[in-house]
């Protein structure tokens, strides 16, 4: 079996196999888990009176009650949606408009006059995976001298079997297998020259350790939440106007990415300090290669090994959910990818700041381990200690934000949901000190500045 022999000798091929297996497992579990049904219901006390004739899409005028509510719904092909309205009296008129947000095509403009309040809403089956603008309207004829008119509505989206998602997995698997076969057949000799050589040697050092976060990734993906997501139109309109069928856990106390970040950042800190401690860094100093390039190769290795599987799967899910966007408007899709990149960079910046500094300053692995875990726990998890210690820092000004994880989640949500007008969007909790965009781009910029500072320190450090 020449291929098996090649595989046995080629450690890069082994690494590719490991990454493929983990990526596929993660993809499989995140794609095949039943999606959570999602929806929205009316706010509490959703009523109008002559004293308050208008309230959040509900309007009282000339003895009639007018209702209108719009949502942006991300649906896969075959997903079902109903927009149910319960008026206070009859007769009344029901109107549902569904528009493909990407092509602008009006898919549904359904109007019906109902003589009674009892009503079975139509079921909309999504013809393709894309973003839909959904508007529900009602006009209810009321009697004279109405004291109070209330209305209830319920927008519900149910997931269907995702044939396109499964096809995406098959396609993805095929691409990865072709890549693997190409590596095995061509059996390229590992090139140790220049920056690529540094990456190869770093990868060979780290690749066994990469299992740890990857195992966590896969285990997590098998524990996805399947309970329904119901949003009430409340104070944060921006967030509640978007309805997405999700399969990841929301509103849990510990964020998945914080855990993943903790593990990978610790790994990075320990491995980097360990290499310095055993004298391998000194060995590298005796070779004709500048230290700053070596330092950047370490950061690049960490990003590639730890974040690439995550990024690939995110992009895959994006393709799976919104291929319509990619086909009809590549510009918008490229902007999606750019946003994904910015968010990834932002999260990476937050996660990597602590290990970056510790690994540069600490001479011993044991010190690094304790320092990275303690600082990370303080920064990433809501603890009374961190609240007290970090309260002077602007990031922690928001009432209720107790950790960097909370802050990051809030910022990313705001950015993703309002990226169109993000330049104007200020945090309500920040006394107009900064816009979302400032924080989102500012954090990576600060990170880059810190990297440069650490590089300067690193290159000026003696190696006795």
């Amino acid at each position: 079996m020449p291929l098996v022999n090649t595989l046995r000798k080629n450690s890069l091929a082994q690494l590719i196999i490991v990454l493929i297996v983990f990526t596929l497992l993660y993809t499989y579990f995140t794609t095949n888990t039943p999606l959570r049904s999602a929806g929205a219901i009316n706010p509490q006390d959703y009523c109008v009176t002559p004293e308050r004739p208008s309230f959040m899409g509900l309007r009282l005028e000339g003895g009639r009650l007018f209702f209108q509510a719009s949502y942006t719904v991300l649906m896969g092909r075959g997903d079902n949606m109903t927009f149910d309205i319960s008026p206070p009296s009859a007769p009344w008129t029901y109107n549902l408009v569904v528009v493909d947000a990407v092509t602008g095509e009006v898919l549904v403009n359904y109007t019906t006059n109902n003589p009674t309040t009892r009503f079975i809403p139509p079921v909309f089956i999504a013809p393709r995976s894309t973003i839909y603008y959904v508007t529900g309207e009602a006009v209810v004829k009321l009697g004279e001298n109405v004291g109070k008119a209330c209305l209830e509505y319920h927008l519900a989206v149910y997931p269907a079997m995702r044939a396109d998602a499964l096809n995406a997995i098959y396609g993805f698997t095929a691409i990865l297998l072709v890549l693997l076969v190409a590596v095995l057949v061509l059996n390229p000799r590992v090139n140790y020259r220049g920056f690529l050589g540094e990456l190869v040697v770093n990868t060979k050092f780290m690749w066994l350790w990469v299992f740890m976060p990857l195992v966590f990734l896969v285990v997590y993906s098998t524990l996805l939440d399947t309970s329904p997501i119901v949003k009430r139109w409340g104070s944060n309109d921006l967030e509640n106007k978007l309805i997405v069928l999700l399969n990841y856990r929301e509103s849990t106390r510990i964020d998945f990415f914080v855990l993943y970040g903790t593990i990978s950042a610790m790994l990075y800190t320990l491995l980097f300090t360990y290499r310095r401690e055993i004298g391998e860094e000194k060995l590298r100093d005796t070779m004709p290669y500048p230290r700053w390039k070596r330092y950047f190769s370490l950061i690049a290795t960490h990003v590639i090994l730890v974040y690439t599987p995550l990024y690939i799967v995110s992009v895959l899910h994006l393709f799976k959910q919104v291929p319509n966007i990619a086909l009809h408007d590549p510009y918008v899709f490229s902007r999606f990818l750019w946003h994904l990149f910015i968010v990834t960079l932002f999260i990476y910046s937050l996660v990597s700041v602590t290990p970056l500094v510790i690994s540069i300053l600490s001479p011993r692995t044991s010190i690094s381990m304790v320092a990275s875990v303690t600082l990370f726990l303080l920064l990433a998890y809501p603890t009374p200690v961190s609240t007290t210690l970090l309260s002077p820092i602007p990031y922690f000004k928001k009432p209720g934000v107790k950790s960097l994880g909370d802050y990051a989640a809030d910022l990313v949500n705001c950015y993703l949901l309002a990226h169109e007008n993000i330049y104007k969007y200020y945090f309500t909790w920040d006394d107009n000190m900064g816009r979302v965009i400032d924080y989102l781009y500012g954090t990576p910029l600060l990170y880059i500045a810190l990297v440069l500072l650490c590089t300067l320190f690193y290159t000026r450090r003696e190696n006795p």
Binding site: R193, K204, F205, L283, P288, Y289, N463, P464
Partner: protein
């Protein structure tokens, strides 16, 4: 080539080097001194791993601290405490270094065969003994075809065959006009080729050549069909001692005009008697 002018290096309150001035040119140069005398510190200053507290250090006219990568393009460096990456095989590591330095792989293979490294280098480094690791590290340094070599304690942990091969390689490099600087405690015989040396003691230079040394101890080596007569003739030079081994007479003496005339007359060669010199100096400067 390798210069240190009025160099002082402190580690906190400890003075590892105190106002040291040494200059080494082409050929074999040896740094001698007991443990903690500052030999490795001086080599690390020349390698750009340390920055001098005072004074100037130069390698081929470059400041190694500021231009470490450029200096490393011209010299190869071995330190005893360097750790090979255990997660690679010896061959992978040798290839990594060869590609970093642009050394032809055929040259690396040739040296690996001579040192006996190629018999085990397909295995991962973590399974090697200390001697195997050392031979691998010396292979990557000595096969580099550099203009200069810095070797810190290259002889410890090695078997007899490896010592012989290392000496042969060093002799070849010296013959080709390269600069070789060795810090060692073990004198294997290669010191016969020595062109310069410095003996350090508690961070200070107590003897050096070329330099201020007034009386240089040399060994004059003469071959003759009548060695006994030649030895008797040599005794007229008032040497420290004379040794006779088969047809060769070894005369341990101080270099002076009469000795030079004797050498010309009997077609002898001389080399610096580093072992005796070092032994005498260590007795003179007790710790």
């Amino acid at each position: 080539m390798f210069t240190a002018r009025y160099v002082t290096k402190k580690f906190g309150a400890t003075k590892a080097l105190d106002n040291v001035s040494v200059e080494f040119e082409r050929g074999l140069n040896i740094l001698l001194g007991p443990n903690g005398s500052g030999k490795s510190t001086l080599l690390k200053l020349w390698s750009g791993l340390l920055k001098p507290t005072k004074g100037e250090v130069g390698v081929y006219g470059l400041d190694p601290w500021r231009h470490r990568a450029r200096v490393m393009e011209r010299i190869s460096v071995f330190f005893e405490d360097l750790q090979a990456p255990w997660w690679l095989s010896g061959e992978e590591y040798a290839r990594f270094v060869a590609e970093k330095r642009g050394t032809p792989w055929s040259r690396v293979r040739e040296y690996a065969d001579r040192l006996g490294v190629s018999s085990y280098w397909s295995r991962l480094i973590r399974g090697y003994s200390s001697g195997m690791k050392k031979k691998l590290m010396l292979l990557t340094v000595l096969s580099a075809d550099s203009e200069g070599y810095i070797l810190d304690e290259p002889y410890t942990l090695l078997d007899k065959d490896a010592l012989r091969v290392i000496d042969e390689i060093i002799a070849e490099e010296v013959k080709e006009g390269r600069v070789v600087v060795i810090a060692t405690h073990i004198l294997t015989g290669v010191e016969k080729l020595v062109k310069g040396f410095a003996i350090l003691f508690n961070g200070r230079v107590i003897a050096k050549y070329p330099g201020e040394l007034r009386e240089l101890l040399v060994v004059v080596e003469c071959k003759s069909d009548q060695p006994i007569e030649l030895a008797e003739e040599a005794l007229k030079l008032y040497p420290i001692r004379v040794e006779l081994q088969q047809d060769t007479v070894y005369i341990y003496t101080i270099r002076k005009p009469e000795v030079e005339e004797f050498m010309r007359k009997y077609n002898c060669i001389e080399h610096i008697d580093l072992a005796t010199l070092y032994g005498e100096l260590v007795k003179t400067f007790p710790r």
